[in-house]
Symmetry: D2
Subunit: 392 residues, 4 copies
């Protein structure tokens, strides 16, 4: 694989897969690191307060086993700060290394996964991994294509959060639709107040009940459901994004579409624009009382001409149903080169939305901070400003 780094200046690089480490447990890894992940976060500014607890709080958002809608699989996901932070919990400017442990893999699961080795699980990466990596592909428990990989993104995103917090930039993601049941329009304030009040992270608390009822029904069928996650970023200054190819929506789209289960995204009114007229979709600017330019509406989702305009970024992403289901399906055995029928009995989430929302938060934070570095560097050079440390 050659695409395990994201970002231009603020950069995250990750490694680790669902089970490969576990297979080697007799060999050379300390027990704490079985089945673990690593994220190296580069471009972290010096002087930021960063503790393992702060990162752990983000990690815990995506940890499975928290509700009836998660996989009952246990992953401890404990984060260790390995480098880049001094004894007083302050970053030094050196790359922050994060290790995420996962020490509760049991042999029975490994054996079960091994038994599926030859058979492609519909909707999963097994087939394309065989095409790309041949017989050497880590096709046990999905390997690098497992959703588990996203835990490292959340850890890296938490570092971005620590920086963005100092600038008053807040990113939240929440569920607005599951299997066709849609929440009403949700403000930033409502989302912020409510999005962690139920097990599916939907701030429309009434609609959430319907969604949960629906999920229970689908789970009983052994099936799974898709949904929609919405992301709002408040406090993003105007000026981020680099025309013409690295427009802010382009790098954000890259960041979000790199999450496996996402099949679509839209900014602001998104596909609704196809049903609008220019006189309806144009956001009208005006000087507010403080002399700042604001917009009367936000159909654009906070981006104009590829550059943030100071309004909330609003993004929605479509999440496909979990591909692993407990229903018999036709498929292929790649080794025997024959069509087969199988029912997989692994543990999985009936809907990944409640686990994917913190990954969306993480990727948006990383992309925004990366854009900030470039925009600030560009403006600092343009205006011949040379920020210096008071100290020296």
């Amino acid at each position: 694989m050659v695409g395990n780094t994201f970002g231009r200046i603020f950069r995250i690089t990750t490694c680790g897969e669902s089970y490969a480490g576990a297979f080697r447990k007799h060999l050379d890894i300390p027990k704490e690191l079985f089945g673990g992940l690593i994220a190296i976060v580069d471009g972290v500014p010096p002087g930021i307060k960063l503790t393992a607890d702060f990162i752990q709080a983000e990690m815990d958002k995506r940890r499975p086993g928290q509700s009836e809608f998660d996989t009952p699989r246990q992953e401890r996901d404990k984060v260790y700060i390995f480098s880049g932070v001094m004894e007083d919990d302050i970053t030094t400017g050196a790359p922050v290394g994060l290790i995420i442990s996962n020490d509760v893999i049991e042999d029975q699961h490994i054996q079960k996964h091994k038994s599926y080795r030859e058979v492609v699980r519909p909707g999963q990466a097994g087939y394309t991994f065989f095409k790309k990596y041949g017989q050497f592909a880590d096709n046990i428990g999905a390997g690098r294509a497992s959703g588990r990989e996203t835990a490292a993104r959340v850890a890296g995103g938490a570092v971005a959060k620590a920086v963005l917090d100092t600038m008053g930039i807040d990113v939240i993601a929440f569920i607005t639709e599951i299997h066709g049941i849609k929440a009403g329009k949700i403000s930033y304030e409502t989302a912020k107040a409510n999005y962690r009040k139920n097990e599916i992270n939907c701030p429309d608390l009434e609609k959430a009940k319907e969604m949960m009822e629906e999920l229970r029904r689908i789970k009983e069928e052994g099936d799974s459901a898709g949904g929609v996650v919405e992301i709002i970023a408040r406090g993003v200054p105007a000026g981020l994004g680099e025309p013409v190819f690295d427009k802010l929506q382009a790098t954000l789209a890259h960041a979000l579409m790199s999450i496996g289960a996402i099949k679509g995204l839209e900014f602001g009114d998104g596909f609704e624009h196809a049903r609008m007229k220019g006189s309806e979709s144009n956001d009208i600017p005006y000087f507010d009382e403080s002399g700042r330019v604001r917009f009367k509406t936000n159909h654009a989702g906070g981006i104009l001409g590829g550059i943030s305009n100071g309004e909330d970024l609003r993004i929605r992403v479509a999440v496909k149903p979990t591909p692993t289901i407990s229903i018999k399906q036709e498929t292929v055995n790649m080794y025997k080169k024959e069509n087969v029928e199988v029912e997989f009995n692994t543990r999985n989430d009936p809907c990944v939305c409640p686990r994917i929302y913190p990954v969306c938060e993480a990727m948006v934070r990383i992309a925004i901070l990366d854009a900030l570095y470039i925009a600030k560097g560009y403006r600092a050079v343009s205006q011949n400003i040379d920020p210096r440390w008071d100290f020296v």
Copy 2:
């Protein structure tokens, strides 16, 4: 600006804006280049047949003034091959330089645009360009934020097409929705046969008539409309895309979302996944009679686990209505710092879809060819294959 290059190995870099060159016509540019654009295409393989006529044919797809739904503005958009090709029209491996002329800018338009200099046009990049580039922003005729910039992408995409043609990879884009009027489901074959048979490039020839009727009505109002463009790529081999951050859908999303007017995109069934169950959305693989793995459906749009699976890539993008309309709108005068009301009288397309589809084709071609280089390099190294020229 710092984002004017796209691609990792196969790379396009562009410059040029709508009017800046024209303002300098008394100064130092040969007349042929007034208001022109340049694309440098890097990573072009040697030995490919490439003529200006071939590129021109792609350029002519997006040239305005072709129908009643285009801006009546004339842009000649003639392409010159500047470098990288020898006398026998064969590429050498050197970067291909392309110059696109635009010699019909008339002073009256420049004067009109100048008169709008201080005023933000709602829905356009003027405001954010002021925030990013200050008073120096080229805010006349939209400058670098003008859709005109995309002509250089189409020229570059034509070079990618010349290469992909040798591999049997075909990319087409066409209109499937305008202002809420939707075409029926369109196969690759129908699209290929019909998409250039009407002025709005919609292969559903019946529905297209309704769309055109609607556009006429909206144009009379001085308003504009949004729509949806669909892209199909046939012949893409399995194995393209680099997990975990440079998945094929991530780099394609980056490529497409960098086009100014696009506000959303989806792969395969896209947002419909939010209304599906796993048992519905999983594409079932099988060995066909020739022993090749195919899929019974293509809900995924040709990508699994971030890697192409050999089926058609299917992507849909949402296009916002042209922001420049001939209706009075409120806005701000940035220089006088006051709220104003204006009606802009520039010439514009009532719907950009018929001009944006070749840009979509171009960007998808560039992204696919770039992914091909990386995937092939990766596999050539993995298998210790060293392709050599017979010649040496």
Copy 3:
């Protein structure tokens, strides 16, 4: 080719080769552009004064035919500013496109070059281009491997100079050795005062006479000579360079070693360090009267730990003798696959040093400005400074 862009934020992309355009003159290029080059300079800040004359002054430094030691070949090398600058000669922030014309290619030279097509010229890129690009390689007049390509770098470097001038950063390069004849130690002030006072750009005006005498002798033999170019950058602020892999000396080395004729480089005392003790090579810091830290010596050449320390950058590069000589040499005919003996009768410089020094200046300027963007962006984020335009 896939390496025609240099820089991370401030970026130059070039195309064009010595003769390819010329072969196509009947085809599709305006006469002004025969045999020309293009540079697209991305990341240019808005608000910088930039005229074609300013760039031309840099171009004229490397133009051949200026002295008896240059090739008598005529290249007009006229620069056109194509984009990114408005009517008042002020940059807008859009990428600056530069076209360099070369309209004096004569058919007789093309015919002569064609006659050499099959034969590898010792010391030149012909053989490796055949291996890399096969029979399609532009092997006439060296194509993209010609020193002519560097004219585009000089044009791009002039744009960097326009920016660095506003910051008081000055880069000069000059000759300190030719065919073993070494100039004495030269201060920045002497170099600045004298380096353009003779035809070989050596500020040691006495030693320069010896060098010129030697060059005349070598030229009469039909041979050529190597030399050393020294580069000094004054006014570079402390803090540039990004450990651990993009240390300032690493990106500067990348920039300079990308110039074809350069075979070695050293920072500060360079290889002399191999003969020194730590007590001799350590530069001792002290607070000067103004309270600023300075260093008593500059053995390090202005870089410590991969980061600029505020002292002059001092770099020396070794330039190999021009490979094309008028002496019979053995070589190979690639088409006939046989060993042959040839004497090439093309016109060339007996020493490229007087033409390569402005290329060194250009590449160092580009690398420094690129490093400035990254360092300033990093510090602006670290200190939560948000440079804003007064205007908005």
Copy 4:
């Protein structure tokens, strides 16, 4: 810091510093990881045999405490393979994560280093780190600027070695000069046979004795010495390197000059070219008996026109004396802003050459493998070759 990744396709990303982890030992890192380093190696092909022992063998080359000329400091430098390898020791294509432990940091050393916190050590990165990262810089034991960081490069380079070994590409580095005492000309065969036969890794076994004698003398003075390391890469195919900015010598120079102590480098005859004539420096090609083109000499060091020519790559780098010496030196106290005089009592190598040679090997291997990916991808696309796994 933002430069902790090297490579375009084959990429290494590292983190970790000399003591930061140790300071946090009470906090959150398992004991095995105190003071450790991480390398994530991306772009590793699937199907390669890779064991911790294989990597450890490379690590052990640079481990201190092996001779009287090393620092007596103990660093265990044990490598753990964290990810990317399955139970049968075969790579999967997933990024290979490597953790390097260092569990023998003792409190007394930490305390000693803390006592130096305010004072700049001449010749080291302390001053520039203060300028770049302010008071938050990890200025204890050199932090990220410590030579210790290079252990992660060696681990990553060992992964590159495992791949290059399958292709018959061999890279070795050895010492050819210490404090002015120069070895004679050394062939690849001699170097290979002898370079690990003495404690300073100099294959000229006679001259090595003189060098060691000299080092003993200098060590007694409390001083240190510089030297020269030579690198030879055999078996590199013709065709690597991407003109015009990513020529092979440019990316190799970037790779090598990123090693802190290196102050100069040269390819082939390097600076000797400044004393040569074209008729002397041109390497004459000929068809050998097998019909392959070879060169009669290798003044160029295996690179022509920025592209490997199939001959040995030969590179020499100048290494500065270890800056930390046991002799009283003047310097500055950054906190008190005053000039001071200090004698540092830390343990250090009198010459880093014997520890830096494996780092040179590692960086050259990484740069060559990265160039291989790009060249092979380029040729595979150019020739429309699609390497496929037999398996699928």
